[in-house]
């Protein structure tokens, strides 16, 4: 143990020296890209992968000759899953390191904590994770799914293809599941689902004893109507949840669970044999059968040095976001944030599922929606997908507060929450 620690210490010392060395050598002719993902603490489990994915993308771009004739340089900071620290680190990246753009954040609360910093210092943030919507900010580009690009299509699929009539909305107790479930509840009621056919359940972060809740779900599902679970359970709590489902013998054929936060990475810690047929809704699966995806997976596994390493949806979001930024900077001919914000709307780049994604005026992107079933090898098999691309909707059409709001950052409107009923900019939201 001590030996290993010593090696570790030596290795980190060496890498620091190397980083400083390369910094001084390239200081004049590089464009800096900030990476703001937690590398320690609870969120490290998900965010470390995204840091590595960004390093790979930057590396690839440099091999192609960089950007505007300059090499790109990654500046990695560790906000340590500590929300206020996200804001501090973001400030450090923008003011101290003078980065041209930042790729980062995972949880909604970390994004909310850095928003004022990006607004104040006028820099760019690319946010790669599916989130609850109800936001559109001038300096932020949302490359993950909005609820209408994930939750609503998943519910439609269950209703139409599985004939589900009774719904369990289970989630971790924080802003993303609460808002998503609020939207879903309104949507289900609009579709004629009765109040008593919807069960909503929240659990604390990292909840590990699922016996009661799984038994409740099983009892709720034995009322004679087809039942499904819509899960917004986050992170670590998923493994014990799925283990309990498997052990209590709840099969996907009887009560399917569709998850919005479970991807290939999360399944890596699970024996998936008892879970075959449970669903997930994303905009990308590693199993997508396209040449771009095969190439991406091959590069990723070579970069990380592990041929079993999986890819996932937020990685694809970074892939799309990074390429959009490159294209916008090339179009604008500068990395100046104002110029890039104007140039990026309408930019369209290939995604990994065989189509093109475009940046919309509301700073959300177009994506296909895929529904996949868990397979025994821990991958998803696509069983359904939208026929075309779905435009990310910043403000939900199913919530009374926000159904009249739209976002459009092009001149002359330049507004994140334009109220079409009153014809004025302003109302709900961050601006």
């Amino acid at each position: 143990m001590t030996g290993k620690l010593k090696t570790l210490a030596l290795a980190s010392l060496a890498s620091t020296i190397m980083a400083t060395a390369s910094f001084t050598a390239n200081a004049q002719e590089t464009i800096k890209v900030g990476i703001l993902h937690s590398l320690s603490g609870t969120m490290a489990i998900s965010e470390t992968t995204l840091k590595d994915a960004m390093l790979m993308l930057i590396d690839e771009q440099n091999k192609k000759g960089g950007l505007l004739g300059k090499q790109l340089e990654a500046v990695v900071v560790d906000p340590a899953s500590d929300w206020p620290l996200f804001a501090e680190k973001a400030r450090e990246l923008i003011e101290g390191d003078d980065v041209a753009s930042v790729f980062g954040c995972w949880t909604s609360v970390s994004r909310k904590s850095v928003l004022p910093v990006f607004e104040e210092l006028n820099s760019l943030l690319f946010y790669p994770v599916q989130y609850e919507g109800e936001e559109s900010q001038r300096n932020v580009f949302y490359t993950g799914a909005a609820p209408n690009q994930q939750a609503i299509p998943a519910v439609d699929y269950l209703m139409e293809n599985e004939g589900v009539e009774r719904w369990v909305l289970a989630g971790t107790d924080y802003v993303y599941p609460r808002t998503t479930n609020k939207i879903l509840e309104a949507y289900l009621k609009a579709k004629g689902v009765a109040e008593e056919d919807i069960m909503i359940n929240y659990t604390p972060f990292g909840h590990s004893d699922w016996q009661t809740i799984v038994a409740d779900i099983s009892a709720f599902g034995s009322a004679g109507k087809k039942t499904a679970v819509v899960s917004t359970i986050n992170g670590d709590a998923n493994v014990p949840f799925y283990k309990e489902l498997g052990n209590q013998g709840i099969k996907a054929e009887d009560i399917p669970v569709v998850a919005f936060s479970v991807g290939e990475e999360e399944l890596a810690g699970l024996d998936t044999a008892p879970l075959v047929g449970h669903l997930a809704a994303w905009n990308y699966f590693q199993s997508a059968d396209t040449d771009e995806n095969a190439e991406f997976i091959e590069k990723w596994q070579a970069f990380i040095g592990d041929e079993n390493r999986v890819t996932n949806d937020p990685m694809e979001a970074h892939y799309i976001g990074f390429n959009m930024w490159i294209k916008a900077v090339e179009k604008a001919g500068t990395t100046d944030p104002d110029a890039v914000i104007d140039a990026i709307v309408g930019v369209s780049v290939p995604n990994l599922t065989g189509g093109f994604s475009a940046m919309m005026p509301n700073h959300h992107i177009t994506k296909p929606v895929l529904i996949g079933e868990i397979q025994e090898d821990g991958q998803f098999e696509t069983v359904w997908e939208t026929s075309g691309l779905v435009v990310g909707d910043a403000w939900s059409d199913y919530l009374p507060d926000s159904k009249d709001l739209i976002a459009d950052w092009r001149a002359p409107m330049s507004c994140g929450n334009f109220n079409t009923a009153t014809g004025q900019c302003g109302g709900k939201g961050v601006n």
């Binding site: 143990m1 001590t2 290993k4 620690l5 570790l8 590398l39 320690s40 609870t42 490290a44 489990i45 998900s46 470390t48 992968t49 293809n161 599985e162 107790d173 359940n201 929240y202 659990t203 604390p204 990292g206 909840h207 590990s208 004893d209 016996q211 009661t212 809740i213 038994a215 409740d216 099983s218 009892a219 034995s222 009322a223 004679g224 670590d236 493994v239 014990p240 283990k243 309990e244 498997g246 052990n247 209590q248 013998g249 996907a252 054929e253 399917p256 990475e265 999360e266 890596a268 810690g269 699970l270 024996d271 075959v276 047929g277 669903l279 079933e373 025994e376 090898d377 098999e381 069983v383």
Partner: protein, 539 residues
Amino acid sequence: MYRKSILALLTIWCLSLFAPVANAQDADLQAIIQKFATSKNFNQTKAIVTELAETGDASVAGVLNALSDGSVYFRKSDNQVFVVPGSGKTLELFDPLTGEAAGEAGKRDLKKVKVNNALRRSIRDAIGGLTLASENPSVRLTAANTLAANPDVEALPAIEAALERETDDTVAKRLRQAQASAILISDRSLEDKTNAVNVMTALGNREALAFLTRFEAQADGELKTLAARAITKIEKNLKLWGMGQNVWYGVSLGSVLLLAAIGLAITFGVMGVINMAHGEMVMLGAYTTYLVQEIIRNSMPELMDWSLLIALPLAFMVSALVGLVLERGVIRFLYGRPLETLLATWGVSLILQQAVRTLFGPSNQEVSNPSWMSGAFELGQITITWNRLYILIFALCVFAVLLWAFNKTSLGLQMRAVTQNRRMASAMGIRTPWVDALTFMLGSGIAGIAGVALSQIDNVSPNLGQSYIIDSFMVVVFGGVGNLWGTLVGALSLGVFNKFLEPYAGAVLGKILVLVFIILFIQKKPRGLFALKGRAIET
């Protein structure tokens, strides 16, 4: 549609008892099976499944099962359909009907026939009737379950025939349920139906309740009142079982708390060391289990069922060694300075977490359940999962061994002597520093074996320990510092308390209420449930 096919299958199966169906149809069956290769979507595949089931030939059950498992492929070059059970780069092919080996092919040359839940469901329904005569009780159980879930008047004679032959109790019970629900929707006599309602009442499960509720809505006269009475009876019964279920869940949660806390009961309870790195000892135990399973998976897969038993002593040693280093390297300089100990061990916990994250990566590692720990069994209306039951037994065993070691061994005697009066013990010739080190090692080692058990129900990730540290302190403080019995009673009562709150207050509020309860309790009884009398470590 399925009813028809089930009926067809049942008829054919009955016929086949008397005159085995000749294999003349094989060519036709092959032709239908080959259509899987050209199926464009799930609906087409479903139509082929129905077509196969309607032939009523029992030999199609094999290929349908394989399809449901996702192991039916076709060769891209000639659209030939095969069953391919394995995985890897080159795959062995088998004939879908006869099951004979049919050569090999590379993975890239084959394409899978896609299945989804709806398709799996229709396959299950289609082969339900076929397999009622199977040799294997678990296959018969699936068939009986299908029939119980989809009551079918036309299947009644076949169910009754099967019921007469049935030797397995569980299957017979499900068949009786299928029979009763089929009778209720048939046009049999009032007496038969009354009997059927009574059978359903005796079964008393949720399915019976749901069926009777639907039945009651459309029944009239005597049957309606009978059904209504049966419903109240079942509901009352289920409520009682629900209480029993809460107790079981509570005890099971308590056993997890006990496992997590029992090592801390020694280091914190007996020695008085506030060890914030306790959770990380648990995590190290879980990672040891992961490593053991990795080695077994790669070199001797036949030992997989023994992996946990092999991991136990190793996990104990790993955590105990780390504990020893921690005690000798850090804690012994800080005895009697709780604040510094707290900060130092918290720092150590962060170092351990980050070290594991660097070595194994931040993502969850897969630790699988051995076969004897998977699944569940039913006790009345309660579902008890095997892994929870084994963890409860294991926690109690660990507790018993520890109690024995404390009260009956000379090391235990020395530990108690040192914690009660250090100077006197030292004067009697006990090497107190070594006893300290050994006690800390024991506590850490116990945390390590707790990690082996927790790897079965929770994620194995660098954060594993963090989620247990607060709960562990809570249990030890509530139970009474320095008393192992206190830890046992504290863990079990907190578990049961939590599980009785959860259905009413929800998981989030339930947890808060438990914490509030403990705060109030500690105000009233600062030394916990079982206060230790006499001098504690500070003397």
